[in-house]
Amino acid sequence: MKARGVIDKGDEYYAYGSVLEALSQGLYPDRKHILREFVQNAYDALGDLRRQSPHTELEPVEITTSAPSLIIADKGIGMSGETMRRYRYLGFSEKRASSHAGFRGIGKFSAISVCDHLIVRSSMLGDTKSYQVQIDASGMLKCLQDEKNPPLETLLRDYSQISEKAEEAELHYTFVELHGIRKDARELLDENIIKPYLIQVAPLPLDPTFAYAKEISSRLQQVDPRFMEVELRLNRKPIYKPFLENASRPEFKEVFVKDGSSELIAFAWFCQHCGKGQFRELGDGESQGMRHPYSGLQYRLSNFAIGDSMLTRKTLWQTTPERAFYFFGEIHVLDPTMVPTSDRDEFEDSTARKRLYDRCREVAATLSFRAGLESRRQRFAEVVTAGQQLVADTQAELESGKLETELREDKDYQVRRLLENVSKRLNKSGRSRSKEDKVVRRAKQVIRRAERLRRTLKADDAGQGHFLDISKIIKMDAKTKAVYDTIIRVLHEEFRSEPQRFATLVRKIHRALREDVAC
């Protein structure tokens, strides 16, 4: 009912074409998100099929780049004639955020910014017809340019059409072709670009060669009612979520709404790097040694990625953020009130989001602490190994009488530093001794040997022959020896911060003296 005084002719248009243009071009600055939009629809259709027919084996989603087309096809439940009719509507969707990955009914129109024709053919399970919606995207955009912003209604009606044909009742599918991909969106036809993207965002199964893939999948199915993984074939080849080598077996962490509650809001799984520090790229390419792109944790909603591992790093790791990449894994968000942003780079701002991040920060803090412990353990093992080497080398030099007297002081200093370092780390390792028993045993052995070594280094060498005294070898007189000792003392001072260089210098002087003076 209209309020009194309202002037409404009833034939006015309330929305114009530029809305569509803004939506289609502005919704996804990253063109790859357009692909994700259709993949989402495919997974929703498969989810609906599973709900309706739980024992049906789901077939892979197929994505094919066939220049100039990008094709996304699924054998999900398919769409009825009515749903297909509404497919042409902007912003209309029967899906619900709580049960479907896509739900706004806008994303499909993002395709009109990248292709000339959008063709969608679908047949619903049990229907004896298939329906085809065809959107003339290039015609729409041309009309927008030529006719100076026509009404949205006119644009959608004039440049989309629906047709039907007979189909076998047992066939059910949706086949989407983005035909005539434009030059500025050619990345959508490049397998080398869309494959890593899909690996990162799509709800794929974990790589079956990952030993714990089934265990993780099974746990997720138990806790997440929206969790689904279906194989996806890109240009006829299956692709999977990757895993990283040299990682611990997975651990699982339930995140409850609050302490003492049984209401789950997230479920995390993660594997920790068994090596030192972050997961890094191996191989000999340009990226060698850089942080591995699959490291870190990723938020997942209905098994679709929300943001990348930088989002969890940013939102959860308040201190030592680099430790986020000592792990790889996922945080599956179970809270039904959590809503992703349109581009799925984040969650929409809400109290639910704040609560999720707060609770997950506790997980991150635990992981960060463990990463710190592991890092310290690795460093401890490295120090012990280096100490063993130093003790063994010095011992060998002393036994063969090859340690120059000029280097005695430095060597003693090195061994003293080693003793301090190992003793300090040994004391600190108290909390995680059980994991470090082997290292601790080695550390204690190093300390014992280093103490013995120090005693030898400090002792009077009379008659022991542990040290190499050049003044005796070349028979320096007292005056010459005094001069020599002075020079060595000055050099030692000069190279105090470079003991290795000093040692090299001394050895060179020895060699020269032996060759020149002794002759």
Binding site: S66, S69, A73, I119, S163, K165, Y173, R236
Partner: protein, 293 residues
């Protein structure tokens, strides 16, 4: 409006069965791993029937002018509906151009070589481009080159076309050359050739012309062509159609220019198969045979 799917006659199904028999006979050691290149049409009936034998399908579809994507879309959709999309690659454009240029309109290249090549033309064999070049004959020549360059094993070639717009001059001149070659072989073939030239049905002359043409072109790329009985039948809308089947065997002989291995008299004496109402029978259309001397 409901769009009618492309329909095939029962006669065409007989041809398809004969082709399948050819595949099974000659490529028995590779069944299930075969690669197909050709014009399966958007309904994909050939490749759906042969699907268990195939590992890889490269389909070429040019579509209708100015809305090429409609039929191409239908082909891809059908491949998906029928569960063969995992094997199928679509090349967009004219198959003759793909064979001659080595890529489709968008630069996609076939993954040579192939075990089965099916040139199931809906039009005639003697189609000329704007420059007057007989594209299809050139395309067949290029097919052999590309197969040879990619070290193809033995493969089968199916060649089908309608009898519209036959280049009478090309066919008749070729048959006269065949007569000369037969004389060189010491055959008194004049009577036989005259019978072919005077026969009221084009199928008679085309049988000889196409079998000889393929043998000649194949030999230039070191393939020996072995032909099977040509088939003629009435297709869609009663179009007169002919279908040829060849086994192309890689030759162990040197690369020196040479004549085809299949003898002309064997080609002449090869009976044809006429398919009527889905039933096949052998015929020589009343043409004389060349007797052994």
């Amino acid at each position: 409006m409901l769009k009618r799917p492309q329909r095939f006659t029962t006669n065409k199904q007989v041809v398809r069965d004969l082709q399948c028999a050819t595949i099974r006979e000659h490529l028995a050691d590779r069944l299930g791993r075969l690669s197909y290149f050709g014009l399966p049409s958007s309904s994909l009936e050939d490749v759906v029937q042969w699907n268990p034998l195939l590992e890889r399908i490269t389909a070429v579809e040019r579509g209708e002018p100015r809305c090429e994507w409609i039929i191409q879309n239908e082909l891809l959709l059908n491949a998906f509906r029928l569960g063969i999309s995992g094997k199928l690659t679509l090349l967009r454009g004219d198959i003759d151009h793909v064979l001659i240029n080595g890529s489709d309109e968008f630069g996609a290249k076939p993954d040579w070589p192939f075990d089965i090549v099916s040139l199931d033309y809906s039009g005639g064999l003697f189609y000329r481009d704007s420059a007057g070049q007989m594209l299809r004959l050139e395309a067949i020549k290029q097919l052999f080159h590309r197969q040879a360059d990619s070290l193809a094993s033995d493969f089968v070639l199916f060649l089908s076309f309608n009898l519209d717009q036959i280049d009478q001059h090309e066919v008749r001149e070729s048959i006269k050359v065949i007569e000369r070659d037969l004389k060189r072989f010491g055959r008194a073939a004049h009577t036989v050739i005259e019978a072919y030239l005077a026969h009221p049905r084009e199928q008679a002359r085309l049988k000889l012309y196409v079998m000889n043409l393929v043998a000649q072109l194949a030999s230039q790329s070191q393939f020996d062509s072995l032909s099977e009985s040509p088939v003629f039948y009435s297709g869609n809308r009663r179009t007169e159609m002919m279908a040829f089947r060849f086994l192309l065997k890689t030759s162990a002989r040197t690369f020196a220019p040479r004549s085809p291995k299949e003898r002309l008299n064997a080609m002449i004496n090869r009976r044809m198969i006429e398919v009527v109402g889905g039933t096949q029978h052998l015929t020589n259309l009343g043409l004389p045979l060349i007797k052994r001397e």
